[in-house]
């Protein structure tokens, strides 16, 4: 399928989802759907660095929080900013953080890179916790605009925003996969030393991947303060974001754009269902994710997509 046809198809599917949700007229669907879509963006963003290039980022929550706190800062300085400005700003802030992280960790591979991302997340969280302007450890309240643009309620509007972001993220991921950039990432994943000696600009590619992946996570975080109305470091830097951003692509399959999508929709829906069906669900849904992650990496190392690919090719491959 050509890039353009895929984009049209993605937009049609998204429109169908929105239409179906509007027909059902269940406000809760939008509340839960927002979180699932947010995970689609986060998982896709994580997969650009983690799946395509093989560099594991334990600090997805920090990039997400950069976007969210970017919104807090902007709306403290200028009341009622338009959503598009917030999303672009979140993308730029988190992208710059990604670029800096890329520079700091250029010499690191494998485990050391992963640990450095975790360290970066905690340093950023400590900075935010001690920064009074954005509320410090007490957190900050964010007032939603009185009227929702385009749709009836503000939650529906936020859902639409995240739907657009998801479509953009998936189109970007698929485009990368089939471009020189994506092949470059794959050479780094398979053998960085060999890639470098055959003339692949590994340094440049790494910086592109950390920046792009970070920026997408920041964009996913930008509308978040409006969604929860109140943002503190604990909710912005929630470790659940970090583990879901890893678990969803790994469970879905890391080699293509489809894996993070499947993983995010599946795991996200299970967690949202658990939230409604069972009490003390936040912890329980984390447990579900942890158990599924461990089971999948042991039993199905290529994720759900890998399971189908292998059976499609038949035995012996």
């Amino acid at each position: 399928m050509s890039q353009r046809n895929f984009a049209i198809l993605a937009i049609l599917v998204a429109a169908a989802v929105l239409g179906a949700f509007l027909l059902i007229r269940q406000e809760y669907l939008f509340v839960a759907g927002y979180i699932v879509l947010q995970y689609v963006v986060l998982a896709t963003a994580w997969n650009i660095l983690g799946g395509y290039m093989g560099y594991i980022n334990f600090g997805a929550a920090a990039f997400f929080a950069m976007g969210a706190y970017g919104t807090v800062v902007i709306q403290k300085l200028f009341p009622m900013p338009p959503m598009i400005v917030l999303i672009i700003a979140g993308g730029i802030i988190a992208g710059v953080v990604g670029l800096v992280m890329g520079y700091l960790t250029l010499r690191l591979r494998g485990a050391f890179f992963a640990i450095a991302t975790l360290a970066l997340a905690v340093v950023l969280q400590t900075l935010i916790t001690n920064w009074g302007f954005v509320g410090g450890s007490r957190g900050a309240y964010i007032v939603r605009p009185p009227q929702a643009p385009l749709l009836e309620t503000y939650v529906q509007y936020l859902f639409l925003v995240m739907l657009v972001l998801s479509v953009l993220a998936l189109i970007t991921a698929r485009a990368i996969e089939r471009s020189r950039l994506g092949y470059g990432f794959a050479t780094i994943r398979d053998d960085e030393l060999a890639a470098e000696s055959s003339g692949v600009p590994t340094l440049k590619l790494k910086l592109i991947a950390t920046t792009l992946s970070g920026a997408m996570m920041g964009m996913a975080g930008a509308p978040f303060p409006y969604y929860i109305n109140y943002l503190d470091p604990g909710s912005g830097f929630n470790l659940a974001f970090a583990i879901n951003a890893i678990a969803m692509p790994v469970i879905g399959g890391t080699t293509s754009w489809l894996g993070p999508l499947i993983g995010a929709v599946l795991l996200g829906s299970i967690q949202q269902y658990a939230t409604v069906a069972i009490s003390s669900a936040a912890d329980l849904s984390n447990l579900i994710v942890g158990v599924l992650l461990v089971l999948f990496v042991i039993i199905a190392p290529h994720g759900i997509v890998g399971m189908f690919r292998r059976s499609a090719r038949g035995p012996g491959h």
Partner: protein, 291 residues
């Protein structure tokens, strides 16, 4: 303004005691990550599990937390043995797919932490023992037993491990497997068996480190996260595969953290550990004593 020397000296001494304890927390990582190249990011979570076991035995039977940690040591050894079996058969044997190995331990970390939250909730728990309350005073210097006992126990465990590694056949084999696995095979030693023992030992240290931790401070399950940065910072600072290096790194970080907490407030302390880690990784990835 007078520089508060008394405060500084107290902070340094508290940091030294804390550093001794950090050595016990990190020694497991030095073994698993430093020597075996297994990124056991879940190690701090196992330490917290150790803390809670010490807590249960202390609250229900009134056992001394550190003695009960020694009693359950074999259980932790067995746990480590089992985890290595799974790790070896699912990841190490299949080749160099490190991403899934990470995810495995990251998942274990979450399972351990969330299970503890589901069973015990997020209230802070603490233990009762004769040495938890009192302190010795030398002039203006305070030496709380709450810090001194864990520090002493940690250093003892550390020394025992160092002796084990330097003096026994298996210990030397662990060192050898960290340097050249193939050479070990040529000497007719099974590297997988040696690694299994070493990994089981690394998890066993979590039992004692956990008991020390709950003596030092009341804790809840997510406290373990703070220690992820700390243990890796110390292990990397110390140059990964040397236990004496780990001890120096632990004491260094303990002192720096304690001084930061005293002069700038405890909310900045976590940034110190992770900041040190980031800077070391960025500028001296081989550690302070690396070549």
């Amino acid at each position: 303004m007078d520089f508060p020397f008394e405060l500084l000296i107290n902070a340094v001494i508290a940091g030294l005691l804390l550093g001794g304890f950090y050595a016990a927390v990190t020694v497991g990582i030095s073994l698993s990550f430093g020597m075996l190249d297994i990124v056991n990011i879940a190690h701090p979570a196992f330490i917290i599990v150790g803390s809670y076991i010490a807590y249960i035995l202390n609250v229900t039977y009134g056992f001394d937390p550190i003695l009960s940690a020694i009693v359950v040591l074999p259980l932790f050894y067995a746990l480590g043995w089992a985890i290595y079996q799974i790790y070896y058969h699912s990841f190490e044997k299949r080749g160099r797919d490190s991403m899934r190995g990470f995810s495995f331990f990251f998942g274990l970390l979450f399972i351990a932490e969330v299970s503890l939250i589901l069973v015990f909730g997020v209230d802070y728990r603490y233990v009762e023992a004769r040495y938890v309350g009192p302190a010795i005073h030398f002039g203006f210097v305070d030496l709380p037993y709450r810090m001194m006992v864990p520090c002493a126990v940690s250093l003892l465990m550390f020394a025992a491990l160092q002796l084990f590694i330097k003096r026994t056949f298996i210990g030397r084999a662990i060192l050898a497997v960290s340097q050249d696995q193939l050479a070990l095979q040529l000497m007719a030693v099974d590297p997988v068996r040696i690694k299994r023992i070493a990994f089981a030992l690394s998890i066993a240290t979590a039992s004692i480190a956990g008991a020390c931790l709950i003596v030092i401070q009341p804790l809840e399950p997510s406290v373990g996260r703070e220690y992820i940065g700390r243990v890796f910072a110390i292990a990397v600072l110390g140059g990964l595969n040397s236990l004496p290096g780990t001890l120096v790194g632990a004491i260094l970080l303990g002192v720096i953290e304690s001084i930061t907490a005293t002069f700038y407030g405890p909310s900045w302390a976590p940034a110190v550990a992770f900041g040190c880690l980031l800077l070391t990784l960025a500028f001296r990835p081989a550690g302070l004593f690396g070549r």
